[in-house]
């Protein structure tokens, strides 16, 4: 029997899709370029290749599909019947048959056309032949389109069928609708089947798995059965019938004692009797469900009789006991899925029955003796007649007794549950601390103090250390300033002098800075052309007296040396200061000196201010002075107003357009 995996069937493409796939493959995977001028054999070869390639592809795909789909005869009869019930065996076979026919047709087309192509005489003829071949193959495929669609539908449904292992030990649950089969399945396995109050909630087979004695059991839940003849059954019921008939499993027939499923016990009994021939050799258990609503003992006499009848029928299935009521519990069980009463017992009973059956079979098989022969339990031969009972040390016995007494010890989990559960109660981790004094267990521990971590400072001898530190500190203090004081501070006078010096220095620096900054615009005039009249004897006198020197002598000397004096007798200087060059060549008189110097001096400063120069137009000195004063007064106001004069620079346009607008050809226009 071939192993079929329903989930691994390849997707069946629709007719058009299949055509598209194959044709695009042909286009991509075969050479595409051919010319009229090529050798005819090449042309033929080219087109033949295309036809063959297309045919191969079609065949491959169709074959794959045909092989993937299971053959109804070959698979386990359960699946065979199930497929028939769900998809109609005939339709299924027909569809697959059509695919097969299509495959053969395509093969034939290819053979024919390849033969024709062998004798194609022109490119055009070969091309037309290839077109015809491909066209016919596509038509064939188009015709099987509906079958492909149907098969795809079937495939999708098959993939979703529950994977039932027909060889594994199985428990089958059947009964009337709404008796509690699905709830039972939910209880014993991890399956989560829908449970609802209306009938036919379960519409197909559901599988769950459960364990018993290290073996894995399959539990199959079926849709409810109604008491009808076989021909009248619908698809859903047929599913469960198929399962009943074909699977080798322990059958749990569910009985609803209360009748809340909508069917009375007599109806259920009738159902049982009608399907009991399907049971064959399978172990049967009758399970009375919903005992919370109605117990077995509380049943009326008739109902009880019916139940007993069913039981006797079930008993017949116990192997090797032929109808005797050996153990009631194995055949008739009660439970309630709501209160969980007896659920496990039912499961265990069913599993046990299956196990027993298996072992029986194995015992009966031919292999058993050979296996049995391998077992040999060795018993030691008694040496003498001395009795040697079991010896348990006293300590172990005591420990066991203590443990038994301590069974009632409260665990932390119990305490947690008492106090509100996991989210509410938080266990006190401090309970079991080992401390010198138990009062300290509940102390609140500070973590910070004054910006320090307390844990960094904890030390048993911390007080000692603090004491040491304090001693150090006091010692340092008493030591006092080990730093020698230098010489005394300044006197008040010295302080004043110092401040004066600093002020003077600052002024010098300021003046220098101004000089530096105006150096560009300031004309460099020799000292003798003293516009601001800085170099006057008054000034010198003032400065010298501020320094503390009597200036009179210096002023006298300066005045005596000054050149602007007219008719001054040259005084021969006696004593130390003979640096003046002019003194050496004593012959030059004032006028000559004047002329020598006059080149570098401006005209205005050559003469005194009020001197009347002939040609200027003034009658006398007074008039000139008046004119000078008038001129001065006239310009005074203008200067004060800081008005622009002729000599002042003029900017004709303050904001020329080319500088204040427009984009730059390169760069950013961040600033203007």
């Amino acid at each position: 029997m071939a192993q079929y995996d329903f989930k691994k069937i390849t997707v069946v493409p629709t007719g058009n899709d299949l055509i598209d796939i194959v044709l695009s493959r042909t286009q991509r995977q075969t050479p595409t370029v051919i010319h009229k001028g090529n050798a005819i054999s090449r042309v033929r070869q080219f087109y033949m290749r295309k036809v063959k390639f297309t045919e191969t592809n079609f065949t491959d795909k169709l074959s794959k599909t045909i092989e993937d789909f299971p053959r109804v005869e070959d698979i386990h009869p359960f699946y065979g019947d199930l497929l028939h019930v769900l998809y109609n065996k005939d339709h299924y076979k027909l569809a697959l048959g059509q695919l097969n026919t299509a495959r053969n047709l395509i093969k034939r087309i290819r053979e024919d056309y390849v033969k024709l192509l062998k004798y194609g005489d022109s490119l055009y003829r070969c091309k037309s032949l290839k077109r015809a071949a491909l066209g016919r193959m596509c038509t064939v495929t188009k015709r099987i389109g509906p079958s492909l669609a149907y098969l795809e539908h079937v495939r999708q449904h098959m993939a979703r069928l529950p994977s039932i292992n027909t060889g594994a030990p199985t428990i089958l649950i059947c009964g009337c609708p709404n008796v509690g089969k699905s709830s039972f399945l939910n209880k014993i396995t991890r399956a989560d089947v829908e449970v609802q109050p209306y009938a036919f909630t379960t519409k197909s087979l559901f599988v769950g798995h459960t364990d018993y004695k290290y073996l894995r059991y399959q539990v199959i839940d079926t849709p409810g059965l109604l008491d009808r003849p076989l021909e009248d059954r619908n698809i859903i019921e047929m599913c469960s019938v198929t399962a009943l008939v074909n699977l080798h499993a322990a059958i749990l027939f569910f009985l609803d004692l209360s009748g809340s499923c909508g069917y009375s016990i007599s109806q259920q009994a009738a159902l049982f009797h009608s399907i009991k021939m399907m049971f064959r050799n399978n172990p049967v258990l009758i399970v009375c469900n919903k005992t919370d609503l109605q117990t077995l003992e509380g049943l009326s006499g008739e109902d009880l009789k019916l139940v007993m009848e069913m039981k006797s029928a079930a008993l017949k299935t116990i192997p090797g006991q032929g109808g005797e009521a050996a153990n009631d519990q194995d055949v008739l069980l009660t439970m309630s899925t709501i209160t969980d009463e007896g659920v496990m017992a039912v499961k265990n009973a069913a599993c046990q029955r299956l196990l027993d059956q298996r072992s029986e079979r194995k015992m009966k098989s031919k292999k058993m003796p050979t296996v049995l022969n391998r077992f040999h339990v060795a018993m030691p031969k008694p040496r003498d007649q001395k009795e040697r009972p079991v010896c348990i040390p006293q300590a172990v016995l005591e420990a066991r007794a203590e443990e038994a007494a301590h069974e009632e010890r409260k665990t932390e989990k119990d305490i947690e549950n008492e106090n509100g559960g996991a989210g509410v109660y938080s266990a006190s981790l401090r309970k079991h601390y080992i401390l010198a004094d138990d009062d300290w267990k509940l102390d609140i521990l500070p973590e910070f103090l004054d910006g320090h971590n307390v844990y960094d400072f904890i030390d048993p001898d911390i007080l000692q250390r603090v004491e040491e530190l304090e001693r150090e500190e006091t010692a340092v203090e008493e030591d006092g300033g080990d730093f020698e004081m230098e010489d005394e501070d300044f006197t008040a006078e010295a302080e004043k002098d110092l401040q004066e010096i600093r002020k003077r220095k600052k002024l010098l620096i300021q003046k220098h800075r101004i000089k530096k900054s105006t150096a560009e615009s300031r004309p460099t005039v020799p000292r003798k052309f003293d516009k601001d009249r800085k170099f006057t004897t008054e000034r010198m006198g003032r400065q010298l007296s501020s320094l503390g020197i009597d200036p009179s002598r210096a002023i006298e000397r300066a005045r005596s040396r000054s050149v602007s004096r007219k008719g001054r007798k040259r005084e021969r200087s006696v004593g130390g200061d003979g640096e003046d060059v002019m003194e050496i060549d004593g012959g030059l008189d004032n006028k000559k000196k004047l002329r020598l110097r006059s080149r570098s001096m401006s005209v205005l400063s050559q003469r005194p201010l009020g001197e009347v120069v002939p040609g200027e137009g003034f009658k006398d000195s007074a008039q000139k002075m008046k004119a000078v004063t008038m001129a001065r007064n006239a310009t005074k106001k203008r200067n004060k107003d800081a008005r622009r004069g002729e000599a002042d620079r003029v900017i004709p346009t303050l904001r020329p357009k080319h500088l204040f607008s427009g984009k730059r050809s390169i760069g950013k226009t961040d600033r203007r």
Binding site: D443, E447, I501
Partner: protein, 163 residues
Amino acid sequence: MRLEFCWFCSSKIYPGHGIQFVRNDAKIFRFCRSKCHKNFKMKRNPRKVKWTKAYRRLHGKDMTKERKRNRPERYDRNVMENTLKAIKKIDKIRHDRAADHIAQRWKPKAAKERREARKELEQSISLIKAPLAIQSQEPAITVPKIKVKAPKQQTVEDQLMEE
């Protein structure tokens, strides 16, 4: 909870402040504020950034930190009490010592200033007082006399002789 120190500036990080960055080699970097975090991301070395404690300690501007002890002890209420009292005292001592350290740093400056002032007074006294005046007033402060060789005076006879 414990107070951590910022990896960059070494200031204390109180709970609820700052960012903690865990690198792929499992080293944890804690930052007190985004300034430090951003500096770290720029890969700056705290030992070179002036305002951090690391720089200040390295360059002797602040007192170096004491190492902390990490031996776990069994809880003892008396020890805890003593510790809490001691923390205050230790804090004060530490604070005082740090202040001392900084004061020590500043001390030489006063002496230096005084020396410089003295020198300035000596050298620049001539700006406000003429040497002659000083001599007459304070014989204590003497300005060194500078001797300059005078050029020889050519007498009239000599000049006539030259011509």
